[in-house]
Symmetry: C2
Subunit: 87 residues, 2 copies
């Protein structure tokens, strides 16, 4: 399956959140990640984030798609995704 | 078409960015918006955001889908989307 993950973590935890997400997904920009992921790894990703998250301060949204790809991605402004988003 | 928009604006401009996106889309959480949008309105949305954005500081990612809906959305932690995200 294909997922898009968007998070908003307090700066105390954001570096760890980035590290966790990069283990499983491609870093698109800022707090946005995407990629093909197995169901097993998706469960692991959520488990790792749920151990990190402070539910009073942080939030994560997961979009799960059966189809492999969105039609199109467009970007505006600053790019922070690094080289790894060139697939 | 169906779009997901994720932005990261400097706090000086974030209130305006929120206002622009809410004109066209549903506020999901934090900096995440989604919704059905016509091609004409999508062009307007991008034009308004491009007038606001400081490309040295801010960024926006647009995911465009031909199909009406993602398979599933899951959330973790804080919800900031307000009532309007109950479709």
């Amino acid at each position: 399956m294909f997922v898009i993950v968007v998070y908003d973590f307090n700066e105390k935890r954001v570096a760890k959140a980035l590290k966790i997400c990069r283990k499983y997904l491609h870093w698109v920009q800022n707090s946005v990640f995407e990629g093909e992921i197995s169901q097993a790894n998706y469960v692991k990703l959520k488990a790792e984030l749920s151990r990190l998250i402070d539910p009073e301060e942080d939030s994560v949204v997961f979009y799960i798609f059966r189809t492999k790809r969105y039609s199109k991605r467009e970007e505006m402004g600053l790019k922070k995704g690094g080289d790894e988003n060139i697939l």
